[in-house]
């Protein structure tokens, strides 16, 4: 592979979460407006000065990102619409970073938001994709539960990971959520609770599943000198990877696209998995977090059972993971679920994570995964961030 240019001079700042609600009478546009206001307040910069806008949402129709410029009085020279679910944050960030680095934009507001109403989740499933409409939804398998159950069954059989191993991830995330004011699920969870939860589509049980909700996540991408001039706490972008439909001939998803690019990620970062002070994976099902640990080089698939048993994944532990509680405990605000980990990592590396702050956090890995178009998640990506 040709040597890639680094992201020198590009930083991320102003992590914003608009507190989640299980249901909301407000549409995605309202949540985006709240996120914009949050960014402006956090940065001390008028939203009129944002000359880049990158939006991820599933429920923005009939709008796309361009319509929002008029809606919110922006005049950007970089606009992007990335309704790509769990990988949207990384796609959005990579494009925004290069636009800022090249001078095509100065400050890009990256926002993900979705509303939530009773029935809206199911309606979204009906028409999620052409392949889903033709070959998934008609099988009673609409929604990710069944698709992930089939992936999980094959992955667990191949790696020896059991529900007992996965319980550690779910339980520590619930413990982490205690420090997150907007987390929707804070009721303490034991391994026993996890193991005895109601089956949804075995091996997926209730506490493997995220709660759909309304909410927004946002951050700014800008030049380091502009952040400094504004006295904004920021983090640097060390490395990124992105891949879609990484292994089209695999009969069933036992690995994600990360495996194709993981060497590039660590080479670009000049670091190794063991250098990471915290990790944010895309946790729509703990088994998918496990897959990311293996594919991103923390261990092999066969070593996963041992790896999961050996670490403490709480924010006070030796490998802090999904420190806000992740989607599993805070909720999945549609497309914002993919931004959640990135926004939390910016908070951790800028020392603004409050009670769940990981001490001396300098480096973080954030991974994204998205879009069950048919039988597998298509999008994969990861970034390594460093404290500014």
């Amino acid at each position: 592979m040709r040597r890639r240019r680094d992201y020198a001079g590009v930083v991320l700042a102003a992590p914003v979460t608009v507190p989640y609600r299980r249901f909301s009478t407000r549409p995605a546009q309202w949540w985006i407006g709240q996120a914009l206001a949050g960014l402006a307040e956090a940065a001390g910069i008028s939203h009129h000065a944002f000359d880049g806008l990158s939006v991820a949402s599933f429920s923005l129709a009939p709008d796309s990102a361009i319509g929002l410029t008029q809606h919110f009085g922006l005049s950007p020279r970089h606009v992007d619409f990335v309704p790509f679910g769990g990988v949207a944050a990384l796609v959005s960030l990579r494009r925004a970073a290069r636009a800022v680095q090249a001078g095509d934009a100065d400050i890009v507001a990256c926002i993900a938001a979705d509303g939530s109403a009773p029935g809206s989740f199911r309606q979204g499933l009906e028409s999620f994709s052409r392949f889903s409409e033709d070959a998934i939804y008609p099988y009673g398998a609409g929604g990710p539960n069944v698709s992930f159950a089939l992936i999980a069954q094959a992955f667990m059989a191949a790696t020896g990971v059991t529900r007992g191993h996965l319980a550690r991830l779910a339980v520590s995330q619930r413990a982490n959520a205690r420090g997150t004011p907007w987390a929707l699920m804070k009721k303490p969870m034991t391994e026993e609770d996890y193991l005895t939860a109601r089956p949804i589509a075995p091996p997926i049980h209730l506490l493997d599943c995220v709660m759909p909700c309304a909410g927004a996540e946002a951050f700014l991408v800008l030049r380091e000198e502009d952040a400094q001039a504004q006295s904004l706490a920021f983090v640097r972008l060390s490395a990124t990877i992105e891949r879609h439909n990484g292994f089209p001939t695999d009969p069933v998803m036992l690995r994600g696209g990360w495996q194709r690019d993981v060497a590039d990620l660590w080479a670009m970062a000049g670091a190794a998995p063991t250098d990471m002070d915290l990790v944010q994976t895309y946790d729509d099902y703990p088994v998918i977090s496990a897959m990311q640990f293996a594919d991103l080089g923390f261990c092999t698939g066969a070593e996963l059972p041992e790896f999961l048993a050996a670490h403490d994944f709480t924010y006070g532990g030796d490998l802090p993971h999904n420190t806000s509680g992740g989607q599993l405990s805070t909720g999945q605000a549609g497309c914002a679920g993919g931004h959640l980990g990135l926004v939390e990592a910016i908070r951790q590396l800028t020392g603004t994570a409050g009670p769940r702050q990981v001490p001396r956090a300098r480096r973080a890995l954030v991974s994204g995964f998205g879009m069950i178009n048919f039988d597998r998640g298509l999008g994969s990506g990861a970034v390594v961030l460093e404290a500014g």
């Binding site: 033709d134 008609p138 099988y139 539960n145 069944v146 109601r198 089956p199 949804i200 009969p251 039988d375």
Partner: protein, 404 residues
Amino acid sequence: MMRTGKNPLLRTHRPTLPHGRRSRAAHLLTAAAAEGRFALPQCRRCGAFAWPIPEACPHCLGAIALSEAPRGARVIAATTAEVPADPYFRERAPWHVGLVQMDCGPQALVHLHPGAEPRDAVRLSLVLDRAGAAVLHAALQGGTMSDPQLREMTADPRDRRVLITDARHVAALPLACALSAAGAAAVYAGVPEDWKPLPRRAEFEAIVGLKLVPLDISSDRSVADLARDIGDRIEILVNTADLPRPGPLSAPAAATDARAMMEIMAMGLLRLARSFGPAMARRGADGTVAWVNVLSVYSRIHPAALAGYAAAHAAALALSHALRAELAQGGVRLMTVLAAPTEDEWFQSFGPIRVSGRALAGAILSGLHRGLEEVVVGDLAHDLLARLAENPKAVERELTRDLF
């Protein structure tokens, strides 16, 4: 008569349907499923099979068309949806599905036989679901155990109550016997003009669960009367009414005969649809599954020597399509049976190529078991339709003098 198929202590399913919307291309599969063919999307250029149906081959971007395909597959993973998001499946949970590796290449999500497990060999079918769209079903290879999920999609007469509209049709007696043997809870056979002797009445009366009922579909009152009596319990209706009166337009009785045939085939079907259709469509979630119109292949192909007969059957076929759309709202299937001339005495001139009542009855029963929408019976019918598909003008010219 006791019904054995329904437990009165259980809640009746709400009238929900699975999601019927598909891409336009996916309805090519609907056509295959309607006829009971197994065909999959295949690249015209490189020959690779693809699933789900794409707009271009993912290997070489060649054009995609449906081809007959091997049915074998192996289960990669299987699960049971305990809490499906979709209301139709939620009513029927737990629902078994699996990811399979097809022998011909692609992977697919399938409705899976409850006994099938990972690594099992399975046999795939395309089946119409209750929304009338094609889905893949996987049965255990060599397995005989029945599958309640497949029963949900097909029209198995077991434990169901059936009305045969015309007991005088040559297929009526063998059909009544076959339905009774297949476990139908009741079989009603309509007798038009029941003051006339019914040949083989004793054989009808010997069938367990059979009841002869007066029904003359050329009469508004007769159809309405019967619908009032039994319309709310008919779960499969087989319209066998026919009035074969061969003859060209120039025949002295052409107009009189044509009017009489239209009265039975077109107006009779309308009367049945009006009196039985709405009640059947409303009970789609409560056991009602199918309406069968037994028509002649000459509804599609119109020899000059069968002018009025072909026109009457063509009218019935056209009405069938409208009725299909109405019944579909309740998830009730309309099956069209296009038969070659039967052993009815009015078809003497067709000789030994005619279809026996027993063969026709067998095809109807098989179509119900498989949940088909389009059934063709008899070598002559298959041949005529193949010729029509291949070269319609040639058929038109060939049939100016001949019957086939």
